[in-house]
């Protein structure tokens, strides 16, 4: 089976007044109908990788790749019109903080309905019905009531459920979730992940989960790319996190305090320039 998305030697460079900065340096991976994690610390290029896939890099960013193909479409040469038809409808993105990604002056239900109407020929009433169904799918208890709410009236967890409903309503093939649960409490975080888990299973989607939390992502995804300074250090299969080989991955794992592993002082991560190639 050919992958949904195939990326080879992806590079993102930003032109700044101090000269070019390479944020992503030669990232390659294939994505099937699976859950792929991209993990790294701030500045590792994980978010820029996600954005480049949708050609949403900032204006001063240059994206190059030997190949970046989605379902037979070359994303590198695709027209803006083709890209618009892909964004949201076939590949959609969930951002970190619902408070900043939702329109503050529009009812959340109308925002979900709008996402549906833009990508279909449905009329207002059909879109409203679909939005209500979708709110139920993301386990919101009183969909009719929540439909009428504005973003400031919903909690963080509910806001993220609304975002997920909005991203899922056009039935995309791939979801890119950039730190979708980092702004949430741990219990809500688990519930939102379980929801994404269900959606990916039931609809057979591909999911790219971008996060700084290696332990959490490795317990959730089928495969994890560990990124550092724009490059992939290591690819880890699910459940094999403890066998990680790369010193960066090992360092990331050991510097986190753990409940069942008390230690007086935490080991500090030593970075080695030799990790970077090219």
């Amino acid at each position: 089976m050919s992958p949904l998305l195939s990326v080879q030697d992806l590079r993102v460079t930003f032109d700044t007044h101090r000269g070019p900065v390479e944020a992503v340096r030669g990232v390659s991976f294939d994505l099937g109908r699976e859950r792929l994690g991209i993990v790294g610390e701030s500045g590792s290029g994980k978010s820029q990788t996600g954005r480049a896939l949708l050609r949403l890099s900032a204006a001063n960013g240059r994206v190059t790749a030997k190949r970046m193909e989605f379902d037979g479409i070359d994303l590198m040469t695709a027209s803006e019109r083709t890209l618009r038809a892909i964004r949201g409808a076939r590949i959609s993105m969930i951002m970190q903080d619902p408070r900043y990604s939702l329109n503050p002056v529009m009812k959340v239900g109308d925002q979900i309905a709008e996402a549906f109407r833009i990508h279909s020929t449905a009329d207002k009433r059909q879109a409203r019905a679909r939005a209500l169904e979708m709110l139920e799918t993301v386990q919101i208890r009183e969909p009719e009531k929540v439909y009428q709410m504005y973003p400031h009236q919903v909690s963080g967890g509910m806001g993220q459920r609304v975002m997920i409903a909005m991203m899922l309503i056009p039935n995309p093939d791939i979801i890119i979730a950039d730190e979708p649960t980092s702004a949430l409490d741990v219990t809500v975080q688990m519930q939102v992940l379980a929801l994404l888990d269900d959606m990916v299973r039931d609809r057979g989607m591909g999911l790219i989960l971008i996060s700084h939390d290696l332990n959490l992502v490795a317990s959730f995804c089928d495969r994890v790319l560990v990124m550092y300074a724009g490059q992939v250090m290591e690819v880890i299969e699910a459940g094999k996190l403890q066998n990680a080989q790369h010193p960066y991955t090992r360092g990331l794992l050991s510097c986190v305090p753990e409940l069942d592993h008390p230690q007086d002082m935490l080991p500090v991560l030593q970075r080695d320039p030799a990790w970077l190639t090219g």
Binding site: S42, D185, V186, T187, V188, S219, P257, M265, L266
Partner: protein, 264 residues
């Protein structure tokens, strides 16, 4: 002042926001003691009131009732210079807590000027050294340094007045895990060297267990239970709420996530 009594003593602390119909009772009848040189942690989810407890003790929020004693002396409503010097705070976000147009030198000098302390230049250099930063940082601006370095500056600013108590409000939750490790190590070392008393607020159970000897779990403004780090580590809390928080803090499990309930 008695050296034998607790360093921080809080009795029946209540904090409310707003009035009448919209009144919110954010902290309800919270009491605890912290011994000199001890670390005490407050954990809970957002809205549980854990930061509000800290802000009431530091008197950044005014509407509280109850008794707070610092080293035996009862705290007044208003901030005064003596307790301000005795008790300093480190905030969560080192991007928001440092003045963007002040150099590191200005930031570290300001408390010294307010408290009319001597040898200011020497104290600034010493403070930088103690948090592991070089003197080349002195005339830089916050935007020129990394998040971890900023949090070191925030700690240096708190320590420059030689306080006995540090109030730590999620001091590492905005940082990468590798930087978090460095800051937690620094805080531990400083505590040992100076015999500091820490009151630390965090949503991260593992971080609190790493830093503190005792932990109080909060939900909806109340203490659900108080337990030692050993009890927390061995997974033997007595309350369901704590148990759920513990199971959510580990790795992802679909079944665990489905079993969660809401606690009123």
């Amino acid at each position: 002042m008695s050296a034998a009594g607790p360093m921080i003593e809080v009795q029946n602390l209540n904090v409310t926001f707003g009035q009448g119909r919209t009144e919110l009772h954010a902290v309800r009848d919270v009491s605890f003691d912290i011994a000199r040189g001890e670390s005490f942690g407050l954990v809970g989810e957002s809205g549980s009131g854990k930061s509000t407890v800290l802000r009431a003790i530091s008197r950044l929020s005014g509407n509280w009732t109850g008794t707070v004693r610092i080293d035996g002396a009862e705290l007044g409503r208003r901030r005064d210079r003596t307790t301000a010097r005795q008790m300093q705070m480190v905030f969560q976000d080192p991007y928001g807590s440092l003045h963007p147009r002040h150099t590191i030198n200005d930031i570290l000098m300001e408390p010294l000027e307010i408290h009319r302390m001597d040898r200011r230049g020497a104290r600034v250099l010493q403070a930088l050294d103690e948090v592991g930063l070089g003197i080349e940082m002195r005339f830089r601006y916050p935007y020129q340094i990394s998040g971890g370095q900023r949090q070191r500056i925030a700690i240096a600013r708190a320590l420059i007045l030689e306080p006995e108590i540090l109030l730590l409000d999620e001091p590492t939750s905005a940082l990468d895990v590798s930087v978090q490790a460095e800051i937690l190590n620094l805080l531990k070392t400083l505590q040992r060297e100076r015999g500091l008393t820490y009151l630390m607020v965090s949503h991260n159970l593992a971080v609190v267990a790493h830093m503190c000897e005792r932990v109080a779990v909060m939900n909806r403004g109340q203490f659900i239970e108080e337990l030692t780090t050993a009890q927390l580590r061995s997974g033997t809390p007595t309350q369901d709420y704590t148990r759920q928080l513990l199971s959510a803090s580990g790795q992802y499990s679909r079944d665990t996530a489905k079993s969660f309930v809401t606690f009123e």
